[in-house]
Symmetry: C2
């Protein structure tokens, strides 16, 4: 497989931490929200093993914030998501599929409620700010929409509580999952959430401005020596094993949230108002035609540059593989696929052609672990 160097430019925005992670040995980048996001340091597999045992600091500034504030902000935020936010509370984080008028997915951010009239949507890879601006202008909402200078450092891994307690004090260990609060480090107040794009436990530090985050970055490595801290990033193996989805990989603007296992975030049974609601009611009535599921394939490696078709013995299309990786845990390739109904049964077999050869696989439920 040939490597293609990324052509850097201002358009592919650097983060406040880019120089530091390059000095720390980042090996490869992806682009996420028009910004550099590290893809691995030592190797995807070496990073994976370290993440599951110790603690890592991640430059995930590419998880940009869309700040929505003002009198009509709650109405606008609710209009964008099928998740019921009517009982949402300040200080909490809400994973929320955003959908359009056709009930197709636009993004799957974590919505942080900072105040009754102030929200941060911590977004996956699409320009939610333009969607929000369009909706606000069209509805003549009284809101302010911006991308603040917030650059997340994630601290992930089983030793993350120890490192964070050492830096921010013991009380941070009382922070509950998907809650956020403000903690002091050297006189600066940091928004910290117990969250992150791994299943190994951890925190996301929403550093405001670039200088504060850079100082903190250095200190996290200094304080983390005793916990064998390393630089890291969202890990392909770990996130697929844990069933954490990636917008643009596992689903996109051609899929609806009932197809992508978001049922518990789809609220159709009260009178809250959001885009695509009537369409979703109809989809629920008619039943979905396909469903996102796991797959296991008897292979020891795979490259995923685009969808791969899955077929049964009679050449019927079973579905399309969208993300996949070799898993050291299962000792085979595992992946996430959109499966056509009625093939959506665990243990359903399929065949997949890779580089001219046919391999066998099996459908399974998500998550893998």
């Amino acid at each position: 497989m040939k490597n293609f160097p990324i052509a850097k430019s201002r358009r592919l925005r650097s983060t406040p931490y880019s120089e530091k992670i390059e000095a720390h040995g980042v090996s490869s980048y992806t682009i996420y929200n028009h910004m550099l996001l590290p893809a691995y340091f030592e190797s995807v597999e070496a990073d994976y093993h370290h993440l599951k045992e110790y603690v890592q600091v991640w430059d995930v500034a590419a998880e940009r914030q869309v700040e929505i504030s003002g009198k009509d902000s709650a109405e606008l935020v609710q209009l964008m998501t099928c998740r019921d936010l009517s009982k949402s509370k300040v200080g909490k984080c809400y994973y929320a599929p955003l959908i359009d008028d056709d009930a197709n997915l636009v993004n799957d951010p974590i919505i942080n409620k900072l105040a009754e009239d102030k929200w941060w949507l911590s977004i996956a890879d699409s320009d939610v700010i333009l969607f929000a601006k369009g909706l606000a202008a069209g509805n003549k909402f009284d809101v302010k929409i911006s991308e603040p200078d917030v650059n997340i450092l994630a601290v992930q891994g089983p030793l993350s509580d120890k490192l964070m307690s050492k830096v921010f004090g013991e009380k941070i260990s009382n922070l509950k999952f998907f809650n956020f609060d403000y903690y002091n480090f050297k006189g600066i107040s940091f928004f910290v959430a117990r969250s992150g794009w791994s299943k190994q436990g951890g925190f996301e530090i929403y550093a405001e401005g670039s200088e504060a985050g850079k100082k903190l970055y250095d200190f996290l490595f200094e304080a983390g020596k005793e916990f064998n801290v390393k630089p890291g990033c969202p890990n392909l193996i770990e996130r697929i094993e844990g069933g954490l989805f990636s917008y643009g990989n596992d689903f996109d603007n051609n899929d609806n949230p009932l197809e992508t296992n978001f049922d518990k975030y789809v609220n159709l049974d009260n009178d809250i108002k959001f885009l695509g609601k009537e369409k979703l009611i109809k989809i629920r009535q008619d039943g979905i035609k396909r469903k996102l599921m796991g797959v296991k394939i008897e292979l020891d490696k795979i490259n995923m540059y685009s969808e791969k078709v899955l077929k049964d013995d009679n050449n019927n299309i079973v579905g399309f593989l969208r993300s996949a990786t070799y898993s050291p845990t299962f000792k085979k390739v595992i992946g996430i696929a959109m499966i056509n109904i009625p093939f959506n049964k665990p243990a359903q077999k399929f065949k997949i052609e890779i580089d001219g050869k046919i391999y066998e696989g099996t459908i399974c439920d998500l998550p893998f672990i």
Copy 2:
């Protein structure tokens, strides 16, 4: 300068031509509209010299189309741009800054008018589809908005007329600049515009579906042998010399079209309705505070990963350099910078610090050539 391989995934979409351009020796990629866009083949400078003398075929599928059709489509398209489209004609292409309610730039597409109620916005790097969907939903417009399976091949360079005439017939040479029409190749009808992101002349072929485009790609190389055809891509040197702007590099959602030399596309003097109009009227009244201009710097190379500050002898901030390259024509670095008023005078001197050293530069008008 270290190279960072791009981590490919389905999210960074391949184009129908990716396998072909990789076989043809593409060396580096950027990401544009969540899609692979080649950055150079032999080298930026070798590609540049070839482009100015012969003809190149470019995979610019990453210039995605936002298709807007239906009864209210003209109203929606006009709402998004400050350019007056009231006298627009089917068969013509309109370069049009899109702006938001704050009069800040959202994108700078070419708008192709396919019918009175059907438009293709051939976009730069931002999710215009989400902006359009938000506006349509908010205004309850009767429109259909989609991203069609259209994958542009550009044929650029002084010999492009010869190659295109050989493939599509002599009458294609009658096609006027920024007009489009349909031309046959082996029984398939192709939308072809005389346009493209170079100043060397050429065409953009909006191939619909992936198979038709792939056949055409191969044939263009076969037919182009006698014209010394090579694969190419938008060229950093050529586009800066020619003063062709890049959304995300030269300007973004923090800049307004009066700052970016789009005056002739800003219509404030009749009653057409578009977002940000009142704000633009106020900006025009108050006068702009900064302006996009050219710069020349006594240097033989430069890397641009983010803005670089320009200062005068008294340490006043003259402006910010946003794109730059060594120019073989001028034998120095040239670039595009946002210059604070009153420093916006050609021949204004400035200093720039690069890797700890100070260099001298001069402001100039755009385009360079």
